[in-house]
Amino acid sequence: MRLHSLTPRLPFFLLAGVLFLIGIVLILHRHWVYEVPLFYGETQTIWSVEAKIEFQAQDEPVNVTMSRPSNQKGFTVLKEAAASPGYGLNFIDGTQPQAQWTIRSANGKQVLFYRAEVLVSDSEDDQVIPAPRIPFVSLPQPFDDAANTVLANAFATSSDNFSFTRELLKQFQTPNPQQPIALLQQQYSDQMPQLIVDMLHKAQVPASLIYGLQLQDSRRRQNLIPLLRVWNENDHEIFYFPTSPNDHYKIKKQAPLLLWQQTGAPILDISGGQQSDIHFSMIKREESTFANIAQNLSSQYDFLNFSIHSLPIEEQAMFQTILLIPIGALIVCLLRILIGIRTSGTFMPVLIALAFIQTSLLTGLVGFLLVVTTGLFIRSYLSHLNLLLVARITAVIISVIAIISVFSVLAFKLGLTEGLKITFFPMIILSWTIERMSILWEEEGGREVMVQGGGSLLTAVLVYWAMNDPWVRHLTFNFIGIQFVVLSLVLLIGSYTGYRLLELTRFKVFK
């Protein structure tokens, strides 16, 4: 009897076992052969940064010059590469490191890639960068007088070039600036960085406008941030420009800053092209030192090293998220099959958790509750209108978008920039959630809505914690074998016929 019920299951357990073994072997292979550490942390951090240049060529010789990052305090550039079909490529070193692409003739949309692998290390010293020559600066009236007033104020309250710069920037940062500042801000609002450099030059302070990139994991389409470098005799220091609400960049003080261009030269200079645009993608990787060296030695990725790392950075950043989804789904399986938590929509919590990753947990939770609660109110009105299903859900989708817009504007007006992140929520999913919860409310009552809504949120939070864990991220991204292990676990969970944890209280009368 027992054997009879076991035999048909044998191939199944074999399959699960084989999948599990394949996973483990792949993980160990990557660990031993490619020296990818199994443990997060005992490693060096490498940032792969990719610049993507796009422009319209006009059927004439094209010359593209782009500034390149060089070794600097905190970072060592390990390896550089560029992809540019048909173009001649030249890396110019020296005080102004640049990459130069040239072609005799090109037409239509052109895309050029530059990629640098940058190692986070403390081995580099502060470089000696000579102060630039100070050009003669004169602003048109009445701005010249205004600038002189501002400079005199800053001069009076400072002792050296650094404190002078701080005092100057401080005046531009006050919420209610004095009249000369307001005048300058109005005229030069979109060229603030250049204006401040010019003003420093006016006061005979050596300064230059440089650009840096804030390194944040898995970011795409990022822009460079203008920065100010000021000299005081042989010392130099970097200052952030004050940001205004209209800026397209935002400074995150905790993100490491890679200086892309250090000398005041232009970032991108294109002849023979129009509508040029440059943006950056980046991704963080933890690797052992040996692996870096090995990778540096052979710039070719061999076929057996079948890893996500051979894709362009932009796609890698995407895969980093995609590879986390199985972990989220595994947790949903565990919670539903082993615990017995009820959720509204099987994998809706995973999508909500993905949104939480973008928004941060607290903002995400508050935003989710706000949108769903408001949505339920609107939906309860819609149910009086007796609409057909598809039209009703469309109406809910439009309402959700309206709610999100209203909350974004409201949050922004109230100065809560965190509120803007609400737009990361998947709106169609939210609409279905609202629709399902509303039907549930009508049919089963508010209690069931609380049970399922609470279950969904609890699951989403747990999934968020797992997917945001640096260990989990490290393992899923660096070891494709993990996916096989997860698959085998899911198969085993799927054949579990024992009691769910919550059934132990459901059937409490059988004590």
Partner: protein
Amino acid sequence: MWVAPWRLKQQGILGMNQRNIAYIAKHNPRHLYPLVDNKLKTKLLAQEAGITTPNLITTIENQHDVSLLAQRLQACAGFAVKPAKGSGGKGILILTRHSDDEFIKANGKIISLLDLQRHVSNILSGLYSLGGTPDIAIIEELIEFDTHFSGYSFEGIPDIRVIVFKGFPVMAMMRLATRASDGKANLHQGAVGVGLDIATGKPLHAVQNGESVMRHPDTGQALKQLQVNHWTELLTLAANCYEVTGLGYLGADMVLDLNQGPMLLELNARPGLSIQIANGTGLLTRLKPIERLSPKELHYPAHKRVQLAQSWFASDILRDQ
């Protein structure tokens, strides 16, 4: 608050995972589901097999026919409107005639012909159906309330859920609507479940929201005195549903009509597990012996299967009395 898993196992309690894998997935082929998910199909199949169901007055299959409602219902004093693909009692309207174009709902509210037409139109557009697919409205004659049950239900008619495994009725319970369940007979919404002895149809044990109850919470009627007539006939009808649908693990929802006796209301391919609580017995203790039966025994006719089930599953409590 909690009970140890080995205690549950010892008492043969069937859990959700085991139900899904070892009973539903194993004994209910997916392609047979439409037979039970569509009440009209179930009804027609049942009629062919000689199983009584509430008489069909008419069906409304497209929006155009909604305007013919008044004409088709002219002669009826009372009727029930149901979505063919609805589940869990969604969209069911029980009406008695008040005047030419007004009807009274079970809770005493009066609705107009226009309201009724809109309700039917909603059914057709899939408001109550699984997955929102377009649906058909079924209009049936009302069931004549068996006076035996008058004190046992708040609105709604009590129905009897019988679990039929490979054609053997293994467990049964009566579901009584309460004020808390809003006239619906779903246990998780607060209806009272009364476990019934397979041998005699006598009440064994009653629960509401997982707690034992002795009396109906709204009417105060003592549940011990519940008496179900035509019990063996009812079980035989339920057992017949196995041949009709081919589903090995099945929940048959039956009612007792004053004049026509036991009737089939609807079938369920994924019957819930609360019936175990109402009976105070685990389903596995009854499913396992049936899985061990020889092919010959499994092919007994329905009345023989019911006879066997009644002798196997007779409650010890009642026998001792």
